[in-house]
């Protein structure tokens, strides 16, 4: 206990010792107002901001995932010259010109979640979608005893997240040669979409033993479809969302990969602030893939608004 205290004290002192006048402004860009993942990111940035005495301003396109709108918002924000930017590009290729504009305006920018195809960043904070897909996939297949019929519910066609997660799924399948992949269809990361796709798949395939969903809303959609048809299968998702955790608790969902935007928002903001305050920052933070299941779901039950940001050191040492 004493050691923890002195460690915390040391960190706090070193922290405050190199703090300039607080109150820096950080502009945060996320993709849309409707996906809870990005809400978790925003909450993370706000929580970190409060702890670090900086101000964050949220920029979200009014039309969800609108590329031209995010571009315009970047251009408008550059006029205001925030001290730093934390950036999730709506599309990792199409927003490159926006990043270049930010670079030209000499505003330090940290990239989180979707790795931009180009541009100069203070750091990239993300989770390895591939590793998460792989880990979650293996969990499902192990639970299935290594055999059976599996379907994959992909995300949005063309999104980096979806592509990498699905790659993880398919590689997991390679390690279990007795499991058969029946179909791989996009559900657009959306619940209703995934529900209908799953219903259609159930028509075509009378026996489905496992569902690999690239995110939680789709996993839930698949579960609804299964329940509606009176069928059972093992389902896994990715996000570690509250809803998924509730379902894991009740035994309906097998597992969910931890890809919770909260930590990325926290860490992205922390790094942006450290960079402004001339403190050392890592160039890349890749969060370890954690699979949330019946054994370890407890910490995930707290809603993001009530969580505290983890210290950077703790995240790095994981």
């Amino acid at each position: 206990m004493k050691r923890l205290f002195s460690l915390t004290a040391a960190l706090t002192i070193s922290w405050s010792g190199s703090t300039f006048a607080a109150g820096e402004t950080i502009a945060v860009f996320t993709k849309n107002l409707t996906n809870p993942y990005f809400q978790a990111v925003r909450v993370g940035t706000e929580t970190a901001a409060k702890a670090l005495s900086v101000k964050v301003i949220q920029y979200v396109p009014t039309k969800p995932d609108s590329i031209p709108e995010q571009l315009s918002q970047v251009e408008d924000v550059i006029v205001k010259k925030p001290d730093a930017i934390v950036f999730i590009p709506v599309d990792y290729k199409a927003l490159v010109p926006a990043v270049e504009k930010i670079n030209a305006a000499k505003i330090p920018v940290t990239n989180i979640t979707d790795r931009s195809a180009a541009g100069d960043f203070v750091a990239f904070v993300g989770a390895d979608d591939y590793s998460i897909g792989l880990a979650v996939g293996k969990r499902l297949l192990t639970a299935m005893g290594g055999k059976g019929n599996v379907v994959i519910l992909e995300g949005v066609k063309g999104s980096l997240t979806s592509t990498n997660r699905v790659r993880g799924f398919t590689d997991a399948l390679k390690e279990f040669p007795n499991a058969k992949l029946l179909a791989s269809q996009p559900g657009n990361f959306q619940r209703l979409n995934a529900l209908q796709v799953m219903e259609n798949l159930m028509q075509s395939f009378p026996q489905i033993d496992g569902v690999l969903a690239a995110n939680d809303p789709m996993a839930v959609g698949a579960l609804e479809a299964l329940e509606g048809a009176g069928r059972k299968a093992q389902v896994v998702g990715i996000n570690g969302s509250k809803e998924a955790v509730d379902l894991i608790k009740s035994g309906k969902l097998l597992a969910s990969g931890d890809f919770n935007g909260f930590i990325q928002g926290c860490v992205g903001t922390e790094i942006a602030v450290r960079n402004l305050r001339k403190q050392p920052t890592p160039k890349e933070v890749m969060l370890k893939p954690i699979v949330v299941d019946k054994s370890n779901f407890a910490p995930y039950e707290t809603p993001v608004e009530q969580r505290a940001c983890p210290a950077l050191e703790q995240v790095l040492s994981n």
Partner: protein, 314 residues
């Protein structure tokens, strides 16, 4: 006449959109330090150019009692074709030609379906929207098209005598459309298409031919808009232009063009587009939360038409 009535009646002549524009500029200039700077003004105007390129032909189309809901999707597909040609051949010229060709083809398709098959414009263009959107998705499989020679960016970020190139392009487009509408036979025929098709027939002008030309003009401008969009993104994406036709329609409605009466006002369209751009820019600068921004846009559109409706009765 009392002074108050005099002033009021003069004010009543000033179009609602101008009042809205001046009002918004005033509010934002007062509350946001960065708003009224040359850099930001150039910013807002440049951001408005793509929408203007769509709104201008839309005004003409609406004057012919028509509508083109496919413009955003056609822009998107044209930009994808443009990008693919640029990546494949390395030639920007060929790429631009390809994009314009796509626009013209869809314009022809729209016009032909409307004129020859008598399908109402709303439905026709809803259908071609689906076709263009579908083609965009299928051809790209959801991915951005990248690898375009960087010279294309000059179309959006280049300047001539300090003025951003898009603004010059938009100014040229406006002038062209203005001349077309108010100074040529073609323009007179467009007016006739809107209220007096009989006159055209009597004069021996093919109504069908005119309609096809009007929609082809729309397609052509969508092609130019595609060029600017591709230059802006240095890539093409199958969702880039989604919904822009609705934005264009709203902008020109704010500008005073009426569906019911089919009277178009080109300057009003320009003002409407700039007003919407100013609103968005100002709200961003003020860091108004996104959900409030969404509501504001709706409020602006309704308020503008409400005011116009009021004044129409005087």
């Amino acid at each position: 006449m009392s002074t108050r009535t005099l002033v009021f009646s003069q004010l009543a002549r000033v179009p609602g959109v101008a009042i809205a524009l001046v009002g918004l500029c005033g509010i934002f200039a007062a509350t946001s330090p960065g708003f009224a700077t040359p850099a930001n003004i150039a910013n807002v105007l440049t951001q408005s150019t793509i929408l203007l390129l769509l709104a201008l032909p839309m005004t003409l189309i609406i004057m012919t009692e028509g509508l083109d809901l496919s413009m955003g999707a056609v822009l998107t597909f044209a930009s994808i074709v443009l990008a693919m040609i640029a990546v494949g051949t390395g030639s920007i010229t060929l790429a631009v030609a390809g994009g314009l060709a796509v626009g013209l083809c869809f314009g022809f398709l729209n016009g032909a379906l409307i004129a020859l098959l008598d399908i109402p414009p709303f439905i026709t263009t809803l259908g071609t929207l689906g076709i263009a959107q579908g083609l965009s998705l299928v051809v790209t499989d959801g991915q951005s098209v990248v690898g375009i020679p960087r010279t294309i960016e000059a179309f959006y970020s280049g300047t001539v005598a300090g003025i951003p190139l898009p603004i010059i392009i938009a100014a040229l487009a406006y002038t062209l459309t203005h001349v077309l509408l108010y100074r040529t036979r073609f323009g007179t025929y467009i007016f006739a298409l809107g209220g007096n098709r009989e006159a055209l027939k009597v004069a021996g002008i093919s109504v069908r031919g005119m309609l096809i030309r009007v929609y082809m003009f729309g397609g052509l401008m969508a092609g130019f808009a595609a060029l600017l969009m591709t230059a802006r993104l240095n890539s093409a994406h199958p969702t880039a232009g989604i919904g822009m036709e609705f934005d264009a329609i709203a902008a020109l409605a704010v500008g005073g063009t009426s569906f019911e009466r089919g009277n178009g006002w080109l300057l009003g369209t320009l003002l409407g587009v700039v007003t919407v751009g100013v609103l968005r820019n100002g709200l961003n600068l003020l860091a108004v939360p996104s959900s409030a921004q969404v509501a504001c846009i709706g409020a602006l559109v309704i308020a503008a038409l409400f005011i116009d409706g009021l004044r129409g009765e005087q």
